[in-house]
Amino acid sequence: MVWTRARRHWAWALTLVPAALALAVLLTVARRHEPAPPGTPVNVLLDDFHVRQDAAVVPTGTVRFRILNQGPSTHELNIVRTALAPNKLPLQRDGLTVNEDAPGLDHLDEAEGLDIGDRRTLVLRLAPGHYILYCNMEGHYLGGMHAAFTVR
C-alpha cells in the first residue's frame, strides 16, 4: 500500500481520536476515586426570600455548607449560633436588618455578595448547639430569609 499524504493524515486521525477518548475516560475514573473532602455536607439553597437546607440536624464536627444562590436577587448567608428563635433575632435601629453584634448572637461566618447562580462553600467546625442561617440584606431577613439548624 502506498502511503499518500491523505492516507497518512487519516492514519494520524484514527490514532489520535481513540487515544484522546481513552485519556478522557481515565481522567474521569481517577476523579471519581478522589477522596471526599472532610465534613458533613449541607446543601443550602437561597432564593427570594427563603433559605432552605437539606439537613436540619448534623453531627458535631466539621460541616461543609455548600451554598447556591438561585436568585433572582443577590443574597448573602450568615451563620450565627444563638438560643433565639429564627424570627426573633435582634434588629438594627432601622428595623430592617439583624444587628449582628447584638449580645446573644455568636457570628461564626458569612458568605457575602452571592449573585444569581453563585456557589460558595463554608467549612466550619461546629460544636453542638442551635444555629441560624439568614440573609441580612435590607428587608430579606424580615421577608423570611432565615432557617434554623442544630448540631448534636
Partner: protein
C-alpha cells in the same frame, strides 16, 4: 546636409501609462485604480492589504458608534433604575401620610413606580431624569440576570402597591394595620435592595461592555496599525521598484532625456547621453543646451523652444545637430514637452533621439535624386539647345509650331527635374548676385508655362529681387501659373498682378477655373506652409511641396484661396527684405541656405545654372523675340552630357 527643421507645436497628448497590470483578480484588481495612488503599480499583496486596512478601520468606526450608542442607553437605564428607590420611598410615605389623614397622592407615585418598572424590563418611554415632563425612551433589558432582577423588582412593586391599597382601604382602625405597615416597610426595603442589585448588575454589564469595547478597539487598532505598516512598506517597495524600473529604462534607453530649466540650462540629463554624445551627464547639468547645438540650427531651436515655453502642456518636435565630445555632429530629433507647470518637473522635457544614420540615409537618397535629376536636366538642356537651333533656322510656320510644342514639353521636363532637385534638399548652386527686376522674374515664370499665351501679367511694380532669390521665385511662380492654367478652361485667362503691402509685395495668380473645395484648399495650404520631407505623400501634390520648399528658403508666404471668379487665387507674399526699388539693392540680402555657394561673378540670371535655371528664363511674353540664349557656363559637363554626376 542640414535637415529642414520643422517645429510643430500642439497640445500634449495625455497618454497616461496604463496602471492595471494583468493577472489580478478580485479586490486586488480594483485597488490599483484608487485615484490617490496615481500611476503607482501595486503587487497582489498590497492589493489585499489595502482592503483589509479599510475593513478594519470601518469595523473600528462602526463598532465604536454602535457601542457608544449602547452605552449612552445603558447610562440612562442606570439613572432610571437608580430612581426606583426614590419612587418606592415616595410611595410608602404617600401611603402612610394618607392613612394618617394628610394630603398625598399614592396612586400617582404608585403608577410612576409601575411605569418605570415596566419600561426598565420591556423598554418604553419614561420621565427623563432632568424632569420638565420630558420623556425619554429606554431600550428593553437584554441581559438575563438583569431581566430576572427587574422582574423580581416588578413583582415586589405589585406586592407593595397591593399592601398599600389594603392599608389605604382599612386605615388605622384596621386590625392588621401594624402588620401592614411593617410589611410595607419590609417590601420597601426589599425593593430598595433588589433595585440596587439591578442597578449594580446593569452597571456591571455596562462596565463589562466598556471594557470589551476598549479591548476590541485596542485589538482592531493594533491590527490597523499593522495593516498600515504593511501597506506603507509595500507601497514603499512598489515605489522603489517602479523608480528602479524607471531609472533602468532611462539609463538603458537609446534616447536621452533632458530637462531644461526655464533659463535654458540643463536641469537633468539622463546618463544615456554618454552613449549618444560621449559626454557625462553630470558635466552637462547646469550648462546651456545651446552650447551643444550646431550654430546653423540654433535659430530654429530657439524659435521652437520659445513658442513652446508660451504654451504650458504643449509639445513640439524639432530636429537639430548636437556636438559629440569628439567634435563631430550628431543629427537628433527631439520631442519636447512643456511641463513647467508640473511642480515635480518645472521645466521642458526633451526626449532626444539620435537620427544621424537616418539623416545620412536621407542625404544619400537626396543625393541620388539630385544626381538623377541633374542627369535628366543636362539631357533636357541639350535637347532645348537643339530645339532652339532648329527654331531659329525654321521658316515654315507649321514646323515652327511643332518645334514650339516640343520646346514646351522639354521645358516642362526640365522643371520636373528641377522639382526633384528641390525635393532632394540639395541647394542649388548660384553664381549670380545682381538684382533682377521683379517684372522679368514674373515674365520668365510665365514663359515656362506651355499655355503662356493665356497668361496676362499686369501691374507689376518696378522692383527688383536679389539674384540669389530670383531663380527660386521664378520657379515658384511658374509652378503656380502652370497650376492655374492646367486647372482652368483653355478659353479663360490667368491673371498675374502685383500689389505692395505693408510687409512686402503680394503677387496674385488668379484663374477662372473649376476651383478647389474647402478641404482641398486647407490641405494645399498646409503643404505650402509646412512642406514635408520627400515621401510618398509628396508625389501626390508635388507642385505644392516644391512651392512650399522654395518659399521656405526665402521667407515667402504662399496661400491659396477661392477666387471671386470661381477659380483659385494664389497669393505670394514677397517679404520686404527681398525687395528693392529698381536700381537699388535690397536692404538686406536674403538668407543664404547652408551649403549654398554664391558666386562672386555678377552673372545674369539667364546665365546660371548648375541646377536648372536656363537662359529661357529671360524670354519675354513674345517668346521668339527673346535674345539669343546664353547657356550657363557652370553647367556640370557630366550633366550636360547626360552622364551621372558625382
Amino acid at each position: 546636409m542640414p535637415r529642414s527643421p520643422s517645429a510643430e507645436v500642439g497640445t500634449a497628448s495625455a497618454s497616461a501609462a496604463g496602471t492595471a497590470p494583468g493577472g489580478r483578480s478580485g479586490i486586488g484588481r480594483l485597488v490599483p485604480r484608487l485615484p490617490i495612488l496615481g500611476n503607482l503599480r501595486l503587487d497582489r499583496r498590497l492589493g489585499w492589504v489595502i482592503p483589509v486596512f479599510i475593513v478594519l478601520v470601518t469595523a473600528i468606526v462602526g463598532y465604536n458608534a454602535r457601542t457608544t450608542a449602547q452605552e449612552r442607553g445603558s447610562a440612562l437605564v442606570v439613572n432610571i433604575a437608580g430612581r426606583q428607590r426614590t419612587l418606592v420611598e415616595r410611595y410608602t410615605k404617600d401611603v402612610l401620610l394618607v392613612v394618617d389623614g394628610f394630603q398625598a397622592d399614592p396612586d400617582k407615585s404608585g403608577a410612576a413606580l409601575h411605569q418605570t418598572a415596566d419600561a426598565l424590563l420591556d423598554g418604553g418611554s419614561v420621565l427623563a431624569p432632568q424632569g420638565n415632563d420630558l420623556r425619554v425612551k429606554i431600550p428593553p433589558a437584554r441581559d438575563w440576570k438583569v431581566r430576572r432582577k427587574l422582574d423580581q423588582d416588578r413583582r415586589l412593586i405589585d406586592e407593595l402597591t397591593r399592601t398599600g391599597d389594603r392599608l389605604l382601604e382599612g386605615g388605622r382602625a384596621d386590625p392588621g394595620y401594624a402588620a401592614g405597615v411593617t410589611q410595607l416597610r419590609v417590601l420597601s426595603a426589599q425593593l430598595s435592595s433588589v433595585s440596587n442589585d439591578a442597578v449594580g448588575e446593569i452597571t456591571k454589564h455596562t462596565e463589562a461592555s466598556l471594557s470589551r469595547l476598549v479591548r476590541i478597539e485596542i485589538a482592531l487598532g493594533l491590527l490597523s496599525a499593522l495593516a498600515a505598516l504593511a501597506m506603507g512598506l509595500l507601497l514603499r517597495r512598489a515605489g522603489a521598484e517602479q523608480a528602479a524600473q524607471f531609472r533602468s529604462l532611462v539609463n538603458n534607453s537609446s534616447d536621452i532625456i533632458t530637462v531644461l530649466a526655464p533659463d535654458g540650462t540643463i536641469a537633468y540629463q539622463s546618463p544615456s547621453v554618454q552613449r549618444m554624445l560621449g559626454r557625462r551627464a553630470a558635466d552637462l547639468v547646469g550648462t546651456a543646451l545651446g552650447d551643444l547645438v550646431h550654430p546653423d540650427d540654433q535659430h530654429h531651436v530657439i524659435v521652437s523652444l520659445t513658442k513652446l515655453v508660451e504654451a504650458p502642456g504643449a509639445t513640439a518636435n524639432f530636429g537639430c545637430r548636437l556636438q559629440h565630445e569628439d567634435g563631430s555632429w550628431r543629427h537628433v530629433e527631439s520631442i519636447c514637452t512643456n511641463l513647467a507647470d508640473d511642480p515635480r518637473v518645472h521645466g521642458l522635457v526633451l526626449n532626444i533621439r539620435d537620427v544621424t544614420e537616418q539623416a545620412a540615409l536621407r542625404k544619400s537618397i537626396g543625393d541620388l535624386f539630385h544626381n538623377l535629376a541633374r542627369r535628366s536636366q543636362g539631357l533636357v538642356d541639350r535637347q532645348l539647345e537643339l530645339i532652339d537651333e532648329l527654331e531659329r533656322g525654321e521658316v515654315d510656320p507649321d514646323r515652327l509650331e511643332e518645334l514650339f510644342r516640343m520646346d514646351h514639353l522639354a521645358t516642362r521636363m526640365r522643371r520636373n527635374a528641377e522639382n526633384l532637385i528641390v525635393l532632394s534638399g540639395v541647394e542649388q548652386r548660384r553664381r549670380w548676385s545682381e538684382p533682377v527686376p521683379l517684372h522679368d522674374v514674373v515674365e520668365a515664370a510665365v514663359a515656362e508655362v506651355e499655355e503662356y499665351s493665356r497668361v496676362q501679367v499686369a501691374g507689376i511694380h518696378d522692383l527688383t529681387l536679389p539674384g540669389q532669390a530670383a531663380s527660386d521665385v521664378a520657379h515658384l511662380l511658374a509652378e503656380l501659373v502652370e497650376n492655374a492654367t492646367s486647372f482652368s478652361p483653355p478659353t479663360t485667362r490667368v491673371e498675374v498682378s502685383g500689389d505692395p503691402v505693408g510687409n512686402g509685395y503680394v503677387l496674385e495668380i488668379e484663374d477662372h477655373g473649376i476651383g478647389m473645395s474647402d478641404a482641398e484648399l486647407v490641405e494645399a495650404n498646409k503643404r505650402l506652409a509646412a512642406p514635408l520631407a520627400a515621401d510618398i505623400a509628396v508625389s501626390r501634390m508635388m507642385g505644392f511641396h516644391v512651392v512650399g520648399r522654395l518659399a521656405a528658403r526665402h521667407g515667402i508666404a504662399v496661400q491659396l484661396r477661392h477666387s471671386w471668379f470661381g477659380g483659385v487665387a494664389a497669393l505670394v507674399l514677397l517679404p520686404a527684405v527681398l525687395l528693392a526699388s529698381a536700381g537699388e539693392h535690397p536692404a538686406m540680402a536674403p538668407p543664404v541656405p547652408a551649403g549654398g555657394v554664391v558666386s562672386p561673378d555678377p552673372l545674369l540670371l539667364a546665365e546660371i545654372t548648375g541646377s536648372g535655371w536656363q537662359q529661357r528664363a529671360y524670354l519675354p511674353l513674345s517668346r521668339h523675340a527673346a535674345p539669343a540664349p546664353h547657356r550657363g557656363g557652370d553647367t556640370d559637363p557630366a550633366a550636360e552630357a547626360g552622364e551621372p554626376v558625382e
